[in-house]
Symmetry: C2
Subunit: 270 residues, 2 copies
């Protein structure tokens, strides 16, 4: 079978390979851009577990692969990385409202179509060991896809995530557009609401910078997620407030090693 | 005394601080952009040694500070970093020909004006312990400023440097414009020529990627530098050819730790 992907570039870094990939998604009806990092240890005989990383609103493939620096740590641990860049302000949900409902199907794309294509094309990857992470809007995506699909991902982590979109301006704007005005529908895509129904330890790591303007403006609301988890008796939610750090890649790269290790541990590499 | 610099941004990363600086240079008559990274250990009571990094032709401050990732290693070693971005294709020399001779004075700027201003303004830095590094055209700048100013820098390193500009198309174009047609003048700014007169061990580290198109096109010529050093009996020139790596920041960041350690050793930190 021919690969579903076109490989536009292959770049050597830290002993492994970046593959810049494009393909046509049947779910969204649009071309999609992905970047895959294969660590040097990954072979079909010894496939690597995978950490999927969801980007924030303003990110491009080049931003996150160049600046996030997760691959430096993933290389030596034997972890593969897959960066997805979504469609603008998709919020990583399936829209139910026109005009977005035709193409804005990021949840189905990420949880259904993409795994089949990626694990079909790359035998260097172990489809049974997958974790998820993300930044900002992508942190919201990582948390909610994890909470909505128990067992699909072995762990979750997020940098500066939007934790309670039903109660922040960014979330209100996106959800009213994509889902309509019924706020009960919104709650199905809100980490703070979803965590209330979680069974067992959460296995989640979150870092937030205290000098992050979006945090200070109340767009992220990690405290609400912490409170909801505590009240629901959900353990293993590790939220760190990092003094003086902002919302940028200077923040992500500083704590990237912690997030790679968090996934590596859940995926049996540590 | 008021600082010569305007601080446009301060960004926390790896426990230290990036300062995005501008100032008006008396030497070049133009505004100059610099980025300084102060590791967490740097204080006026315990000033940090400094590694100066000269950028390549197409680089901007954001490129190299975001993607090079040198600060991740410098932070824990207690090394400060200063990135200079030059003026377009300056080649880090003082031009002697109009119309460039008015403003293209990067050699004087870097070796004379800038140290006075930086060490005057930042008491967290130790003016007696400085090394130099660079990429591509900036690698040429690092090697030649080191070779022309014995004792000013404790070590030199370079990623994919232009090693023999008098014999490559980039160098021929730049030097004929900035210096005129007398090739004996060109040799004063060519690492392969300058190394012939070096006394003592060179204390130089160079990395070059074998998949670097500029290397393959004969723009870099590290072999010529190696040959000249060997014939002149100059020791301690460590040139590594890295299989499969290109000219990009994916290459620089992979070997950045080696270059930071090379400088840290020469500066008494290791």
């Amino acid at each position: 079978m021919a690969s579903a992907f076109t490989t536009n570039a292959t770049i050597t870094s830290f002993g492994g390979r970046f593959l810049k990939l494009t393909h046509q998604s049947a779910t969204t009806g649009t071309p999609m851009n992905l970047t895959l990092y294969l660590p040097p240890s990954a072979t079909p005989a010894s496939p690597a577990p995978l950490l999927v990383y969801l980007s924030g609103l303003t990110c491009t493939p080049d931003n996150v692969t160049d600046k996030g620096f997760l691959h430096a740590h993933a290389s030596s641990l034997g972890l593969a990385l897959l960066w997805d860049f979504g469609s603008a302000a998709s919020f990583y949900i399936d829209s139910t409202r026109d005009p977005w409902s035709t193409n804005y199907k990021m949840e189905s794309y990420l949880t259904k179509e993409l795994p089949g294509l990626v694990f079909g094309a790359f035998k260097e990857l172990d489809s049974s060991r997958v974790s998820i992470s993300g930044h900002s809007m992508g942190g919201h995506g990582a948390l909610t896809l994890y909470l909505k699909n128990p067992g699909q991902y072995k762990s979750v982590s997020a940098f500066s995530p939007i934790c309670n979109p039903v109660n922040c301006p960014w979330g209100e704007k996106a959800f009213s557009g994509y889902l309509g005005e019924n706020k009960e529908e919104w709650k199905k895509h809100d980490a703070t609401e979803l965590v209330k129904g979680w069974k067992g330890p959460l296995n989640a790591l979150i870092d937030v910078g205290t000098a992050d303007n979006f945090y200070k403006q109340g767009q992220l609301l990690p405290e609400n997620l912490e409170k909801a988890a505590k009240e629901a008796g959900v353990s293993a939610l590790d939220v760190n407030y990092r003094e003086g750090y902002d919302h940028s890649y200077f923040f992500i790269s500083t704590f990237g090693a912690d997030h790679v290790k968090h996934a590596a541990k859940a995926l049996g590499l540590l």
